[in-house]
Amino acid sequence: MATESSYYVPEQSRLPIFATIGIFLTAFGAASWVNGGSSYIFFAGALSMATVLWFWFAAVIKENMQGLNSDQLKRSYVWGMGWFIFSEVMFFAAFFGALYYIRTFTLPWLGGEGDRGSSNMLWEGFQNTWPLMVTPEQAVAGDAAKVVGPKGIIDPWHLPLLNTVLLLASSVTVHIAHVYLKKGKRQGFNLWLGATVVLGAAFLFFQVEEYLEAYQHLGLTLESGIYGTTFFMLTGFHGAHVTLGTIMLLIMLLRSVIAHHFKPDDHFGFEAASWYWHFVDVVWVGLFIFVYVLGA
């Protein structure tokens, strides 16, 4: 069954329909929750989604260990992961694009410059600055304004710089782990992959620190005008991706340590997770430059 001269045709599967119910409950539950309903449906959905994914990945791993996967099918998984990462790139592009548009067009126009400078007449006294400490509403309404700019912003050369070092280092460690795996040295693989997971967790720890600092001391929140909006949406989605990537790498580590999965020439599960990790690393470099350094 596993050669290209005769094709592998899979059996029926219950996984997709359960995954559908899971994703539906998650989405419907999330909508009800933010609309003021209870959160039970959302958590039930998320839990069932996680359960289905567990069984789904388990099935794929089992099939591969039984030698059912042809080289062709393995290539399909490679293509699938590659294009999935491309879709993630485009998702972040939407938010980077929004930041670019706001800074290059919207704020100068609101501040009275350029082609649509007349919009300043609606927000008299508003000045275009970045970071935007005084929102247009504040410029007009003063203390009565509801959308108030931040009092301070995150200094790029402290926690963000540390996080840059951590994340760049983690991309190196995960690569070293890959090299060890290809040489068949499990000890080294486990060690360097473990180091990567620790670096990822450390990154997340410092990001939480940074958010606490922003919320408690700087008045920098999601609600503090467009600076807070773009800052938290970009770094927040990135943080969510780091969380997911860390979990993925942790699972790969456990698979290697507990179940002795992965062979020197057959380890796409790990490789896909490491691609994902390199991708979140690249996004971070973009964030560090465009949100932190050029935003300060």
Binding site: Q12, S13, W79, S87, I102
Partner: protein, 516 residues
């Protein structure tokens, strides 16, 4: 391994077979087409006479919004995915799609997503009422509470689209039979490869823009609110960065279908195959740099207006190449006019007409006059109805004998065609005139002088609706029985799908076919 379908309804729930999944996509799409069509008929019934006649303005707005959303995301896109599921593996000599379980997941998300979207009609405050383009702040500050359910349904149908597209790319790039080089692939496969790329590139942007809406509505962010330094126009930019490639997502596979049908019934090979491939790729590339032509009147710098105007006009070049090739394929061919060919010829003529009104709209200074009038409605219905819908219909008639093993009823097919052809022109052609005369779109009431053309349009709409019942009846009859089709079905058609029996076996190829 050579097993047939499993008995019982769980066959459809658990299936990993590309033909089962393709059929489900097509039936789902047709159901959505009827639902969205009924909403269109509510709109046309209300507009039959000036003044408020049948529905309240609030409900009218919900109808225009839901009609657009359901037709775009529920009818046209799933129909093309259904055709891709059925035909791409057969055309490239593959046993199935590359990732069959994910394939099933992509499909089953859709009925759930649309159940969620349709349920907003019964929610407090009613369904989304801000138009299918859901411009902020109408869709944020002033939206009904059901907008949240709309946002999450867009999220999961986007996930479905991305997974479907990834599957198609993996299938085409990885599952071709030996000898099936890229430049030997049928054009339907080529157009779908490029469409899938567009989908993977822009569906995440749509997810991004609805996420921004969600955050603005519920979490106090300022993306689309100038009070906090944001900009409602930002919404339009992000939306149309998705929206314009989306337009091509809905037409490129149509090009592929028509490029398969016209050579068969003209009994000549397709003229200019490689130029068709390059033209498709050019259109896909251009689709990323023209989005702001939807926003000429929003107040852009003059450099932006000019750039988007000229870039948009450039699209006429590769599209012209395509139309030229189709016409040249037919030129001096031994043409016959079976139903698929009738729909394809109508496609070439009427889609070109829609393209011409598109060129008019592309001229920025002229667009200031046309913007948000019925002229725009006429334009995009001319590219979507005789474009996307007619090509899907043509494809269904063309491949139905291969799917079912039975010939459809040709007379009924022709009746369907002429009813649809007359119906659509009677519906949408007068809209050009009322639009040029100044009738705005998305209104339940209008000035007296537009009444006659609106009455004509409404009559045409009901005729077009009735035509679809003929179609449904014909398809059901063909599925249930009828004259047996030969393996080739048509006279010497090109493509691997005609080399297998009719109906095609449950698993088409268990060993790779030979491609010369």
């Amino acid at each position: 391994m050579a097993h047939g379908p499993k008995p019982g309804f769980t066959r459809w729930l658990y299936t990993t077979n590309h033909k089962d999944i393709g059929s489900m996509y097509l039936w789902f799409s047709f159901a959505m087409f009827l639902l969205g069509g009924c909403m269109a008929l509510v709109i046309r019934a209300e507009l039959f006479q000036p003044g408020l006649q049948i529905v309240q303005p609030e409900f009218f707005n919900q109808m225009t919004t839901m009609h657009g959303l359901i037709m775009v995301f529920g009818a046209v896109m799933p129909a093309f995915v259904g055709l891709a599921n059925w035909m791409v593996p057969m055309m490239i000599g593959a046993p199935d799609m590359a990732l069959p379980r994910m394939n099933n997941w992509s499909f089953w998300i859709l009925p759930f997503a649309f159940a969620m979207l349709a349920s907003t009609l019964f929610m407090e405050g009613g369904a989304p009422n801000f138009g299918w383009t859901f411009y902020a702040p109408l869709s944020t500050e002033y939206a009904p509470p059901s907008v949240t359910f709309f946002i999450f349904s867009i999220h999961i149908m986007g996930a479905s689209s991305i997974m479907g597209a990834i599957n198609i790319v993996a299938t085409i790039l990885n599952m071709r039979a030996p000898g099936m080089t890229l430049m030997k692939m049928p054009l339907f496969v080529w157009t779908w490869l490029i469409t899938a790329y567009l989908l993977i590139a822009v569906m995440p942007v749509l997810a991004g823009v609805v996420t921004m809406m969600l955050m603005d509505i519920h979490f106090g962010t300022s993306f689309f609110s100038a009070a906090g330094g944001g900009d409602p126009v930002l919404f339009q930019h992000v939306f149309w960065f998705f929206g314009h490639p989306e337009v091509y997502i809905m037409i490129l596979p149509a090009f592929g279908i028509v490029s398969a049908i016209i050579p068969t019934f003209a009994r000549k090979p397709l003229f200019g195959y490689s130029s068709m491939v390059y033209a498709t790729a050019s259109i896909a590339f251009l689709s990323f740099i023209v989005w702001a032509h939807h926003m000429f009147t929003v107040g852009m710098p003059i450099a932006g207006e000019l750039f988007f105007m000229y870039a948009t006009m450039l699209i006429a070049v590769p599209t012209g190449v395509k139309v030229f090739n189709w016409v040249t394929t037919m030129f001096r061919g031994s043409m016959t006019f079976e139903t698929p060919m009738l729909f394809s010829i109508a496609f070439v003529i009427l889609f070109t007409l829609g393209g011409f009104s598109g060129l008019m709209l592309a001229i920025a200074p002229a667009d200031f006059q046309y913007h948000d009038t019925y002229f725009v409605v006429a334009h995009f219905h001319y590219v979507l109805v005789p474009g996307a819908i007619f090509s899907i219909t043509a494809g269904v008639y063309y491949w139905l004998p291969k799917w079912t093993g039975n010939m459809y009823n040709e007379t009924m097919g022709k009746v369907h065609f002429w009813m649809a052809f007359v119906g659509l022109n009677v519906t949408f052609f007068p809209m050009h005139f009322v639009g040029l005369a100044g009738m705005p779109r998305r209104i339940p009431d209008y000035a007296l002088q537009f009444a006659d053309f609106n009455q004509i349009a409404s009559v045409g709409a009901f005729l077009f609706g009735a035509a679809q019942i003929v179609f449904l009846f014909n398809v059901i009859r063909t599925v249930k029985g009828g004259k047996k089709a030969t393996d080739e079905v048509w006279e010497n058609p090109e493509g691997l799908e005609w080399s297998v029996p009719s109906p095609a076996p449950y698993h088409t190829f268990s060993t790779p076919p030979v491609v010369r």
